[in-house]
Symmetry: C2
Subunit: 304 residues, 2 copies
């Protein structure tokens, strides 16, 4: 086990994870969970990769809106296009504070109309080329090394590891296998809908405006987990209020469970913020969920 | 390979399957498909289990409507409840012929309102206890042995095997692991929506009237395959017009592909019917898809 979770400090948090995994994989023990039920679900933004100064997918959408506004200046009449063109991040911050569904709609609609292959190409390019404003590396490298090790450790321990994020399912899937080792089919997220068209007799999937219901956030997470997996997780990890219902779902699994909440308390190496996680942090204390302190529990934050 | 596909006759169909699998798993060959992309999708009703004299899930719904009508006779004002109570199968046959979405809505709404655990219990009991009118065995045994062998053979060959059916996702999942060896999370289907509730502080998933869009039939299959898997299949198998778009999706995968259409031409051992498959059979001939003849290609049909 010396190679397990090497970027974690030897703290009670690491101990809690190791103890839980040892218990649910011990066939002769009272807390054994058979492999079929050994489901783990992870939020992505702020849990596996950095979500500050803004959601990565929002920055991708803004890039696209800016480009569309350049090609068709008539679009600049609309506030989202104008904000993107002028670099007015306050507009998007207000939307985030006051109307998350509208923000998400804006993000998804920015890449509607194109076919799915084209979207994947653009998303893959953005994640590999655009650089994080503070860390100076491509966004696809802004992933928490200890959490990636946790994903691998769970897979090696017979867990079926899924991502369940409010972020875009197709967006995450363009890199999930390479950066996390999580196959596309194990990525659940919010998404635009599709429609089938035929071009020269060949079937093509077009991205259509409008979101698949429900949005994969808050109470939508258990619904989408049931629709995609058909089983509750026994291990769930998140970092914000939008993850509360998923963490509760693990608790309601009638199995031994571990609910993990990553606390961003490391301004030096990443960011320190409780905004958007206040209620989750309170509940973690009340329910005895395990809080991961980035500052205390992570030996390394990023691989770079 | 002597234990492979033992319930299949040694016909060109079996040969086509063996040749395809050998080619896509040959790392040094020109038709190699890496395991990550080696996705197979199977329809269920009429492809893996018997769909005559009626869809199994329809019979399950009728049983429920009958029971609800007994408990609350006021419901018998509604045609679906009256037809269920009087055993008027013609009513449901008409609905099937003229308005499949309405039929499916009737099926799903029959089990709305209850929590998901209760639904799974009822479905599991029905599939284990109610007997097929002609074969006299529980419905969960009315599965095509050669097709089950094909699922296993593909899994053993490194394929990720999924079910993609217009039938109910939760309904199939109650038995998919036991009867097909296909884990719950690999079952895609049509489904009712859910909502999260709290009972005594514990999170519960309630089945809510209304279907998740799109219905997993016809053009809805590629959409749901993209949403659940994020990759097109390289092998797809169906038996009816509702499977056409899924078979086309395999053809559009830009990979070596095999599209299989099971033809019900065996009145003696199962049923013989082209109704609902006319267009699919035409297309199979035009496109060169492989047609499985139940009569000629299956040595055994059922395990019983």
């Amino acid at each position: 086990m010396t190679q397990t979770l090497v970027s974690w400090n030897d703290t009670p948090t690491k101990e809690a994870i190791l103890t839980f995994v040892a218990a649910v994989t011990d066939e002769s023990g009272p807390r054994y969970v058979p492999p079929a039920d050994r489901v783990a679900t992870f939020d992505n933004d702020g849990t596996l990769w950095c979500e500050k100064p803004a959601y990565i997918q929002l920055l991708f959408a803004i890039q696209r809106l800016r480009q569309m506004g350049t090609e068709d200046p008539g679009l600049l009449e609309k506030p989202a296009f104008r904000a993107a063109a002028t670099g007015d991040m306050g507009y998007f911050a207000d939307l985030y504070a006051n109307d998350v569904p509208a923000l998400i709609q804006t993000i998804y609609d920015s890449h509607a109309g194109m076919d799915q292959d084209e979207f994947e190409r653009l998303a893959g390019e953005f994640l590999a080329e655009a650089a994080h404003p503070r860390f100076g590396v491509p966004y696809r490298q802004c992933i928490y090394q200890p959490m990636v090790e946790l994903l691998t450790y769970l897979q090696d321990s017979g867990f079926k590891v899924f991502i369940a994020s409010a972020g875009g399912m197709s967006f995450m899937r363009t890199v999930s296998e390479e950066i996390y080792g999580v196959p596309r089919e194990n990525v659940i997220g919010s998404n635009i809908t599709f429609q089938v068209e035929r071009r020269d007799g060949e079937l093509v999937l077009l991205r259509r405006p409008g979101l698949v219901e429900p949005l994969d956030d808050g109470p939508g997470k258990p619904v989408n987990i049931e629709l995609h997996i058909g089983r509750p997780p026994v291990l769930a990890a998140g970092n914000s209020n939008g993850d509360i219902e998923m963490l509760e779902l693990a608790e309601a699994s009638r199995r031994p469970f571990l609910s993990l909440l990553l606390h961003h308390d490391d301004a030096e190496r990443e960011y320190a913020y409780d905004a958007g996680a206040e209620k989750a942090l309170q509940l973690a204390e009340a329910r005895g969920w395990t809080v991961i302190s980035m500052r205390a529990d992570f030996d390394w934050v990023f691989a770079f």
